[in-house]
């Protein structure tokens, strides 16, 4: 299942190419590269886990994919556009098609849970009525109906994580990058989140989910991207990765 450009992984219903990384490297400041020689293709409607020990570079790779940092070398092609060549305004449009669950949440402290989730919709210019119904439904479904007006500091960590996930998926992005989205919620709620991601995936969203949870890998079998010390190891079948 390899395409021309290095290692390629795809899901069961591979569609259009959403993201390609060609020989990408990345460093913070002037330190050593934390990512090296990354070649990767993500197609529409695929679901990948991203695993690897702490510090392997999962978050860094997701940062590259979400266009929040630039690679130190190599080329990133997103939605068919070479990211390095893209205009400022176009960059915003590309980013709006990506949903990101940040590992450190990055909620706005002065906004309520509702307003935090509504943020990407407002940025996208949705009308308030639609926003109100979307956001309320989403939060209610995640069990946060009663905490919608709470500020992040008044929420439990798990609740904050749910808000973060809600913010990432509420726009139904074409690419969902979820960095440890289930680390702070209980098994029942993990199930709900995975159902949510699965639904998006079925609707054509390409999902990349970084996780440490062997249980996740075991229960929801999807292909695994294995990162180790900044390098992608050959794709591992889901069953084996869980057993590792």
């Amino acid at each position: 299942m390899s395409t021309g450009s290095g290692m390629a992984v795809d899901g069961d219903r591979s569609g259009a190419t959403i993201l390609q990384l060609h020989g990408v490297g990345m460093r913070y400041g002037s330190a050593d590269e934390v990512l090296r020689d990354i070649d990767l293709t993500i197609n529409a409607g695929t679901f990948h886990y991203l695993v690897g020990p702490s510090g392997a570079g999962k978050t860094s790779l997701l940062r590259l994919m979400s266009l929040s940092v630039a690679p130190s070398r190599g080329r990133i092609v997103l939605f068919g556009r070479d990211v390095a060549m893209v205009e400022r305004d176009e960059l915003g449009r590309l980013r709006r098609r990506i949903g990101v669950v940040f590992q450190d949440f990055r909620l706005l402290e002065h906004l309520s849970a509702f307003d935090n989730v509504a943020l990407p919709l407002r940025i996208g210019g949705a009308d308030e009525e639609q926003i109100s119904s979307y956001v309320s439904q989403m939060l209610a479904w995640l069990g946060l109906a009663e905490r919608m007006e709470a500020k992040p500091a008044e929420l439990s960590m798990g609740q904050r994580q749910l808000v973060t996930v809600a913010r990432a998926v509420v726009t139904r992005p074409a690419l969902l990058l979820a960095d440890e989205p289930t680390s702070n919620v209980e098994p029942a709620r993990v199930e709900r989140l995975m159902f949510l991601f699965g639904e998006l995936h079925k609707l054509g969203t390409a999902v990349v989910l970084a996780t440490h949870s062997r249980e996740l890998l075991r229960r929801w079998a999807f292909p695994v991207l294995h990162l180790d010390r900044g390098r992608l190891i050959r794709p591992v079948p889901a069953g084996r990765a869980a057993a590792e």
């Binding site: 929040s68 400022r88 305004d89 449009r93 980013r95 098609r97 307003d115 509504a118």
Partner: protein, 293 residues
């Protein structure tokens, strides 16, 4: 944006909270300065509306009859001029008073010896600014060595003072508005730096520059409205107080009575300030954001 809440917690920074106060102070100053300019302009207008008098001096001639004829011709010519209301020959008594400082009280017989000019007051219609060169040309066509002089001693000085005040006030007003723009630019840039994490997040969520800039713009506008209205009210109170407390005007040389239009123009100052502030904030934000990718 349909929501009242800004995505950026701009009101939480000391610099930003300070912004409304700063704007208030500067708008106060700007309105005061403009009030000075407008009142000075008003005074100038009133001064120019007072009918103006020009004195024409025809040198003495030996033959009284020739003199009379000259005088009559000059008067006729002048009264033909557009804008001239009437002319009047200065009486001998008045002339005596005029020369008294130089010659003392002159005896009638000695007086005859003096080659006194014949003076002619030319009064213009209210609001007309005398065209002295045209007038001089006309008079000198008849009496080549006539002297022309505008009367009203302090008038020129008063006008000059009012003019100076007008420029000063206007200049100060513009300066204050310029300072306002600089302040807003600096504060906006500072708070852009302060909130870099949030700005970053908004951009990661795909917010275009104009969306982020709008946050700063809205905040600056809100500050402008809050601070500006307070500053404007304070300045109005000050102006009204100064104008209507005649005791403060020991020398009421210039008529300082604000006209209705003045109030309207003054009210434009905070509006203009708010506009400038909003534009300055947008400009600063957009330029600040352009550094990021």
């Amino acid at each position: 944006m349909a929501t009242a809440e800004l995505d950026l917690p701009l009101d939480d920074t000391p610099a930003s909270r300070f912004l409304a106060w700063l704007i208030g102070g500067l708008v106060f100053l700007a309105v005061l300065a403009c009030a000075v300019a407008l009142l000075a302009q008003g005074a100038l207008d009133r001064l120019s509306e007072r009918p103006r008098i020009v004195t024409v001096a025809l040198p003495a001639v030996d033959d009284p009859a020739v003199g009379e004829a000259e005088l009559a011709r000059v008067r006729a010519a002048l009264e033909d001029m557009s804008g001239v209301a009437w002319t009047a020959v200065v009486s001998e008594e008045e002339l005596d008073k005029l020369i008294e400082p130089w010659f003392g009280v002159v005896a009638p017989e000695a007086r005859a010896e003096l080659p006194l000019p014949r003076l002619l007051d030319v009064r213009f219609q209210p609001g007309v600014v005398p065209d002295l060169t045209a007038l001089a040309r006309k008079v000198r066509a008849i009496v080549p060595n006539a002297l022309i002089d505008e009367t009203g001693p302090a008038r020129g000085a008063l006008e000059e003072a009012a003019q100076r005040l007008r420029w000063l006030g206007g200049g100060a007003g513009l300066l204050v508005l310029a300072v306002l723009v600089v302040v807003v630019v600096v504060v906006t840039r500072a708070s852009l730096d302060l909130h870099d994490e949030t700005v970053d997040l908004l951009r990661l969520l795909g917010a275009p520059d104009r969306y982020v800039a709008r946050q700063f713009e809205l905040h600056a506008m809100a500050s402008a409205l809050r601070g500006g209205s307070v500053g404007f009210a304070a300045a109005l109170a000050t102006v009204v107080g100064l104008v209507h407390l005649p005791t403060l005007w020991g020398l009421r040389l210039v008529p300082v009575v604000p006209r209705p239009l003045d109030w309207i123009l003054l009210a434009m100052v905070p509006v203009l300030a708010a506009l400038l502030i909003t534009l300055a904030a947008r400009f600063a934000a957009v330029h600040g954001l352009a550094r990021l990718r």
